[in-house]
Subunit: 248 residues, 2 copies
DNA sequence: TAAGCACATATTGTCGACAATTATTTGATC
DNA sequence: GATCAAATAATTGTCGACAATATGTGCTTA
């Protein structure tokens, strides 16, 4: 564990220690303060945050529910290590769930909510033109758009699944992964198309567009993975050649 | 709380108290031993199962993660009370997720797994012809079919979401709800159609059929709800008339 | 030298007790 | 008799300590 934040300890606690703890831990994991695959030591963390092991264990259990950590009986918990396959799995789930959310939102969104969405997209558009697509909108902005639609589905279970469980995993990936190939212009275009379908109350189309939107992101990850593998093998080849050269 | 099972207490514990506890609690809730909406008293349950409150709390926390109980800080946990809307929400989620599972399964299922599925359906068919569609296959049999497909998707996250989280909620509903209108013959027919699409490796069709299959079940619930409402209002009307009659 | 076993250490699982908060009862007032 | 307030009781949240299990170390033996 590399220098956890200097003991913000009791943090902005209103009450409920374990609640705050799990939030703090989520941030620590998502931001990489606790690395992927790292062991979570109960005594160490308890000391660090200045709490007993009881609330800490409860927080860890919650993280396990979210899927951020995995626990083995009598051995302990470690932060999950997202491999490419798991990431792709998540995107398949997202495609299914957010597609459904979009379909429902087309029926449920109020005109006010539709307006908010429109303003959000206009904001993104102007930002994109001015800043040539900087990181902020590729991340937070994208989240905002999807968030509003999910919430607009008015399906509480859908909202929980996407916003509470999968959300943090995606954040962790986006935060820590090698910067993915991002095409903010294209993404924005797709967002507009989705918005149009929503405004037309065309749930079927909205679902299809959202699914394609996410499926494209999934494919991009897949391709990047291929690229990485190629790079790696090239690198390994070069390295091997180099060593060979040295040896001879 | 109406007579919990006579203290099977430590149950078939291998090790890991909280693990066994959560399983035991899940069964108790699903089967209705602990009623929907009932308060979960930590001291009482701890006494009943002969454990400390520590493991019990962990088990409750897990149930919360599954969605079987809801907790309010400093107040406690109670078993969720599924209303019609929440049930319909679950079916929407199922439609999305199992649809995706079916699409993936079409690509992933081995010929052996396809054969297993076929045998299962043949078994159901013969049973149905012999027993005129008794309850077992409407419940467990249906679960088995969906289970195999979900597992066959080879998407671990999908499997977890459906088999660990939503599964118990559905069981609780099916176990406790007023018997739903069930059409085992039609369901079996739909299962066969899905199987055919899977065998043809037609993921797109398989997804569509599965979604329709679940959407139909959802509609049946919706209609039954309408019926119940009508019955209720009729009943209320009759009752009111009766009272009126008595008063006059 | 490598493999296997015994011991020591550390970590996780469980427990009982205390503190903080909520629910209930009691009593007083209108 | 009803309503509100205070005191009591009960429940949840947190803590520290002990028991059970896993990990690491050093020694023996093939």
């Amino acid at each position: 564990m590399s220098q956890r934040s200097p003991a913000k300890s009791l943090s902005e606690n209103q009450n409920l220690l374990s609640q705050n703890l799990s939030d703090t831990l989520i941030e620590a994991i998502v931001s990489g303060q606790i690395a992927q695959g790292e062991k979570i030591s109960e005594p160490e963390l308890a000391r660090h945050y200045g709490v007993s092991r009881g609330p800490l264990r409860e927080a860890i259990l919650k993280l396990q529910g979210i899927g951020l950590v995995e626990r083995v009986p009598h051995v302990g918990a470690r932060v999950v290590q997202l491999n490419q396959q798991q990431l792709l799995d998540i995107y398949s789930v997202r495609e299914a769930l957010e597609g459904m959310a979009c379909r429902l939102a087309a029926e449920q969104l109020s005109t006010i909510q539709l307006d908010e969405l429109k303003k959000l997209l206009e904001h993104h558009q102007s930002y994109l033109q001015q800043h040539q697509g900087k990181a902020y909108f590729e991340q937070q902005g994208d989240f905002d758009f999807h968030y509003l639609i999910i919430k607009g589905s008015a399906n509480q279970r859908l909202v929980n699944l996407l916003c509470d469980e999968l959300y943090h995993l995606l954040r962790m990936y986006r935060y820590q992964a090698a910067k993915q190939v991002s095409r903010p212009e294209r993404a924005l275009k797709e967002h507009w198309a989705i918005w149009q379908a929503l405004a037309d109350r065309d749930g079927e189309l909205a679902e299809m567009l959202m699914r394609r939107h996410i499926a494209r992101a999934r494919k991009a990850i897949e391709q990047q993975h291929q690229t990485n593998l190629t790079d790696q093998s090239l690198e390994a080849q070069a390295s091997a050649t180099h060593i060979q050269g040295v040896n001879e």
